[in-house]
């Protein structure tokens, strides 16, 4: 595991003069499940297409298994892609679709037939060999697209928002299915999505991207609990991002109230952004809280209540709690020190975009 399976080095790409990727570096370890996550237009799909070979980078190198494959055409690359809208061959049966890559490689008939059976079984569609693609449901088409890719035993499977077109229930099922497949096959997955929940559920590593830069890379827990900037915090889950002043190590002032925290090294009296997840806010009796506010909104969400608490400065705090506080009730806000995440304020928008990528 000394060397990464795929290594993107200083990749830049622009379309029609618009910079899509700017000097991007990314390493993917063998046998990992890496998710590229970000809003549309952030460059995640372009990154995937560069790995797949469908788009040539303007600058930089793509290293696969130690070999420079930047200029290698896609048909020579030992990786496969599952496309956004499946891109199945409508003029072929399901078996022919799955056999396509194997036939081109000149595999024997028996081998191909075994592989088709195996792959269909793997995606829970045994017996579908001779059906026509057009008669399948979206979820079934998705499985076929996956089966078509994995029979080629690629070292790396690229998935471009493969679940985007499916409905919620099906999407959840397929998420588990994909994890199972990855574990059974031992293939490295690079997965592109704009759905943060999907990313958190499935990945070993999440790469959050925005405007052509990597904002943060880490395990789902790191990304969720310790967002490195406001963009990540905002994009991943719900959060309260409030301006604060770091008075000194382990003490931050928010709207005039002092909160104990665990962060250090920001200097004294430094303006910062403070991230607090809604489920980390405890509502207590007014006098017991650090800040005082009034419940202005209440919705029952099943697992918890969602409330809005307005503090005298006018900020509306989003709070998730299993305890219910009726609208109009005065409450106190309390946050445990380790639930407070402190981030440097970006000096400019550019810097915000660059994030940790320097």
């Amino acid at each position: 595991m000394s060397q990464p399976l795929i290594d993107l080095v200083n990749i830049s790409k622009s379309f029609d003069g618009e910079l899509i990727l700017d000097d991007l570096n990314l390493s993917v370890k063998e046998n990992s499940f890496v998710t590229l996550l970000g809003p549309s237009g952030c460059g995640k799909s372009t990154t995937l297409r560069i790995i797949g070979g469908f788009t040539m980078p303007d600058q930089g190198k793509v290293i696969f298994n130690g070999e420079d494959i930047t200029r290698m055409p896609p048909n020579k690359r030992q990786l496969n892609t599952v496309f956004q809208k499946y891109a199945l061959f409508t003029h072929m049966t399901i078996a022919e679709n799955i056999a396509f890559g194997l036939k081109i490689k000149g595999k024997s008939k028996d081998y191909i037939n075994d592989k088709i059976k195996y792959a269909l079984k793997l995606v829970n569609l045994d017996g579908y060999e001779n059906r026509s693609v057009e008669l399948l449901s979206g979820g079934q088409q998705q499985r076929i697209a996956i089966a078509r890719a994995i029979v080629n035993e690629p070292k790396l499977l690229l998935l471009d928002e493969p679940l985007g077109a499916l409905d919620l229930k099906l999407r959840q099922d397929m998420q588990y299915e994909l994890i199972r497949l990855k574990n059974e096959l031992g293939i490295t997955f690079v997965y592109v999505t704009h759905d943060q929940e999907e990313a958190l559920t499935m990945s070993d590593t999440i790469v959050v991207m925005n405007q052509g830069y990597i904002q943060q890379m880490g395990t789902p827990e790191q990304i969720y609990n310790e967002p490195e900037n406001a963009f990540v915090a905002d994009f991943i889950g719900e959060s309260n991002i409030v301006p604060g002043i770091m008075l000194h190590d382990e003490l931050v002032e928010i709207f005039g109230a002092k909160f104990a925290c665990v962060d250090k090294g920001f200097g004294n009296n430094t303006p910062v952004d403070v991230v607090i997840r809604p489920e980390d806010i405890d509502l207590v009796e007014p006098e017991k809280g650090t800040l005082e506010g009034v419940v202005t909104h209440l919705i029952f969400k099943g697992v918890h209540y969602e409330m809005e608490v307005t503090t005298p400065d006018g900020f509306e705090w989003l709070v998730h709690s299993t305890d219910m506080f009726p609208v109009g009730k005065k409450v106190g806000i309390h946050v445990d020190p380790f639930d407070i995440q402190i981030m440097n304020k970006p000096a400019s928008e550019d810097e915000e975009a660059v994030g940790v990528n320097e």
Binding site: G52, N75, Q84, A87, L88, F89, F100, I104
Partner: protein, 273 residues
């Protein structure tokens, strides 16, 4: 509107079709299967076996097959190129290839005479460049050229339409699965564009097979096609029965192409417009 009320909307056209498509065709059969005195006979249809007619038919078949193939060979790469270009928006392509039709068909074809003649435009240019001159006017080559020229748009448009509908990711998927450029073409593009090709072929083949104008204008009257034979029976020979009989033979070929279309293009995907 409920279903029945909706169906009523098609009644005027159904009546129209009966009056102006079905009955006229029956008239062709009536004339074709009777002689001048109105007695039933197969003679007019069997007249196709006469040497002159057979020869004209075979010539027509040969020319139309050749010009259909040439059209296909020109149109397919063109449609492929248009597909990859941003200028290849549907309206622009249709625009470019329909536009010549606003210049009259006969004049367009006549203009080829001016281009191809011994002292015509092309030869003037060639001799100015000290190149050997062409002498194809009044030859089969000129007729085929006229057919290709006039019917090429009917090949380009349906092929372009099916090609433009192919998702780029389908091609990417094939390359991803190891297909090289040729395999992408032969295993993906070509099979997916079959409806367009079939529709293009029939739209070129049928009019080329039956034309009499192009052979008249560019063939110097030396080459008799089946269309010329039929036209002359109606306008000069005044044997309408024979003309109708030979038309019945032509319709057999048209029937074949309709069957082909129905088989390969059941969704109407490959229509030109």
């Amino acid at each position: 509107m409920n279903k029945n009320a909706k169906q009523v909307l098609s009644f005027p056209y159904i009546i129209w079709m009966v009056g102006f498509t079905v009955i006229p065709l029956l008239m062709v059969f009536y004339y074709g299967l009777t002689d001048r005195s109105g007695t039933f006979t197969f003679a007019n249809v069997m007249a196709i076996m006469a040497e002159d007619h057979m020869k004209a038919l075979l010539l027509s078949l040969a020319y139309s097959v050749v010009s259909t193939i040439i059209c296909l060979l020109i149109a397919y790469p063109l449609a492929m190129i248009l597909r990859t270009r941003n200028i290849g928006t549907g309206s622009f392509v249709v625009f470019i290839f329909i536009l010549p039709m606003w210049m009259n068909f006969l004049l367009r074809t006549m203009a080829w005479q001016t281009l191809l003649e011994k002292n015509g435009v092309i030869n003037s240019i060639l001799s100015f460049l000290h190149l050997p001159t062409l002498s194809i006017i009044n030859t089969p080559a000129a007729i085929i050229l006229g057919m290709v020229y006039n019917y090429l748009p009917f090949m380009i448009l349906p092929i372009y339409n099916v090609l433009a509908k192919i998702d780029n990711n389908v091609i990417n998927a094939a390359r991803d699965l190891g297909a090289d450029s040729f395999q992408v073409f032969s295993k993906i593009m070509l099979p997916l564009s079959v409806p367009g090709i079939i529709s293009g072929i029939t739209m070129v083949f049928v009019p080329a097979l039956t034309t009499f104008v192009i052979s008249n204008l560019l063939g110097g009257g030396k080459i008799l096609l089946i269309g010329n034979v039929i036209e002359q029976e109606f306008t000069k020979g005044s044997n309408w029965n024979l003309g109708a009989g030979l038309s019945i033979v032509l319709m057999i070929f048209i029937l074949i192409s309709m069957t082909l279309i129905a088989k390969y293009d059941s969704d109407g995907e490959g229509t030109a417009f």
